[in-house]
């Protein structure tokens, strides 16, 4: 991997903060974009922007091809059986909200049970809690151990005949833990429980094969995967999605409309109401091409190197505590320094040009479990370097001296 060449693909890396070069360690929040992706979106808008599926003219044909090619690329990227199983959404949050909405009174009825985990992001908690209030659902939680790994030995005690849905993150945005999703899905499938995977983090750092996982639904966002914001994916098994009710209503998702009655379109259009984010989808397709051309295995191995290097250096800091020490992790390190508030640490590091994330990371129940109000978090991508990690260690030690 030619790191310098890769870094030169990302224009934002040229930015300076307070006179210092940007050290971007907030990739779990959103990734930087390579010029190739930026240009693919810009080119769409300058050269062939048009509404899709709806018109018979040349520009529309080009736009439609661009959009549907992106869909095919996503299908191939996650090994879906067909592009019909790829629904474009705004992101992971919308994907999960879509499912919660269409499950209401179809899959999930009054008094049913769903299973989540202690480490979920709010986007995979709030839609279910809101539904719980409507349908009197019972939400069961898979707990975690001190390493931040799911406790699944007694999972059979957790679910019952009333359990209809299991919705879990593939990996944690706080702890970095990569969960044994394949194993859990197999157990759930035996019981006829519908499985949803929140893959927002994992899709970026792990190869995802939805047929190998055998999950019913897989959700992720484009913007963490080097693509524009406002585009995301809901993968769903065709046989299942075909039977479920529609979500948003309007143009594009219909077949015939009168004031009395509507018939709906086939998959995936059934779930894509209105004018889609064509530019976003094209950007996502380009991002998939970009990282595939570098080599996914190369990327994943390099990120593991960065994670190991950073972990080794960070544990030498006096008073440091790392949250999440699972065997298998995404390149994310959440930590706190004794006697120092995360906010202050983040503020000082920012002055040095280092972007980290501090706070509850949209995982308040997890924070409560860890007995903290927030943590500091550094998260890497394949354009980060060991030199940046060294710089971070040097500056965090200065910050700690100022703040203790």
């Amino acid at each position: 991997m030619h790191i310098e060449k890769i870094r030169s693909d990302f224009p934002e890396l040229k930015q300076k903060v307070n006179g210092n070069p940007l050290v971007y360690f907030d990739n779990a929040a959103t990734a930087l974009k390579p010029l190739q992706v930026i240009e693919s979106v810009s080119n769409y808008y300058s050269d062939y922007n048009s509404n899709v599926h709806r018109a018979g003219h040349k520009m529309s044909a080009l736009a439609t091809t661009g959009y549907e090619n992106a869909r095919s690329k996503v299908a191939e990227f996650i090994n879906a059986a067909s592009p019909d199983e790829i629904v474009f959404t705004k992101g992971t949050t919308e994907s999960i909200n879509l499912l919660a909405s269409i499950f209401e009174n179809s899959i999930l009825k009054d008094g049913d049970e769903i299973v989540l985990t202690q480490m979920e992001h709010h986007s995979n908690i709030v839609p279910w809690v809101a539904l719980k209030e409507k349908l009197n659902l019972n939400i069961k939680i898979i707990d975690i151990d001190e390493k931040g790994q799911l406790l699944i030995d007694n999972i059979d005690d957790l679910w019952s005949e009333k359990t209809k849905v299991l919705s879990i993150s593939h990996s944690s945005n706080v702890l970095g833990t990569i969960n044994p999703v394949k194993e859990l899905i197999a157990l759930a499938n035996k019981k006829g429980i519908i499985t949803i995977v929140d893959g927002a983090q994992a899709i970026v750092h792990t190869g995802v094969d939805v047929r190998q996982l055998d999950c019913d639904f897989y959700c992720f966002s484009g913007h963490k995967l080097y693509s524009p914001m406002g585009i995301g994916v809901l993968y769903g098994k065709k046989e299942l999605l075909e039977t479920l009710p529609t979500y948003q209503k309007g143009g594009g998702m219909i077949n015939k409309v009168t004031f009395d009655h509507v018939t709906y379109n086939v998959l995936p259009y059934k779930y894509e109401a209105g004018t889609p984010n064509v530019g976003g989808a094209i950007g996502l397709g380009e991002a998939i091409d970009y990282i595939s051309s570098i080599g996914l295995d190369k990327i994943f191995n390099y990120e593991k190197e960065l994670l190991n290097y950073a972990t080794k250096k960070i544990i030498e800091i006096e008073g440091i505590k790392i949250f999440g020490n699972a065997e298998d992790k995404d390149p994310i390190i959440s930590f706190e320094v004794e006697g120092v508030h995360n906010y202050d640490l983040g503020a000082i590091l920012d002055q040095f040009g280092i972007a980290i994330r501090t706070g509850h990371h949209c995982a308040q129940p997890l924070m409560k479990k860890l007995c903290v109000t927030g943590t500091s978090r550094i998260s890497f991508s394949f354009y980060n370097t060991k030199e940046e990690i060294d710089y971070f260690i040097e500056k965090i030690n200065i910050a700690i001296k100022m703040l203790r």
């Binding site: 307070n18 995360n342 906010y343 503020a347 002055q351 109000t373 100022m402 703040l403």
Partner: protein, 140 residues
């Protein structure tokens, strides 16, 4: 002293520092210098919303002047709160409500602590003014 005079003094204090680290160290020291609130005072009612750390702000009125007290679990917000307490305490509700803070720009703090960043600076100023607003009603 009027708020404007106190603000001028504040701006002059910061002029002594060229380095951002010195400015931050000064803010941190200011924070360490204020009296912490009692545990019961660190409640929901006194919490300043819009901060990623926790900041509590109290006010009381004495002889037509408003006096503030503040605390935070993080040092930099605590220092900023201390700075604002120093600036606004002991002035009338009317003067507090009418004051337009220019020190953020004049001290050069804007590029480090602009109200857009999640340090709650704007929220703290809002709460200070809203306390003043509340007290100005009780005068009339």
């Amino acid at each position: 002293m009027t708020i404007k005079e106190k603000e001028q003094e504040l701006i002059e204090d910061f002029e002594l520092f060229e380095d951002w680290m010195d400015k931050y160290n000064y803010i941190i020291e200011l924070g360490k210098g204020i009296n912490a609130l009692q545990e019961e005072e660190k409640n929901e009612k006194n919490l300043v919303n819009g901060c990623t750390s926790q900041v509590w702000l109290l006010a009381e009125m004495k002889d037509g002047k408003v006096y503030y007290r503040a605390d935070s679990d993080a040092l930099i917000p605590k220092g900023i709160a201390a700075l604002l307490v120093k600036l606004y305490s002991g002035n009338s509700p009317k003067d507090i409500m009418e004051h337009d803070p220019v020190f953020i720009k004049e001290t050069g703090l804007e590029q480090h602590l602009s109200p857009n960043r999640a340090n709650g600076l704007a929220s703290m100023i809002n709460k200070i003014k809203s306390y003043a607003g509340y007290y100005s009603k009780s005068i009339n």
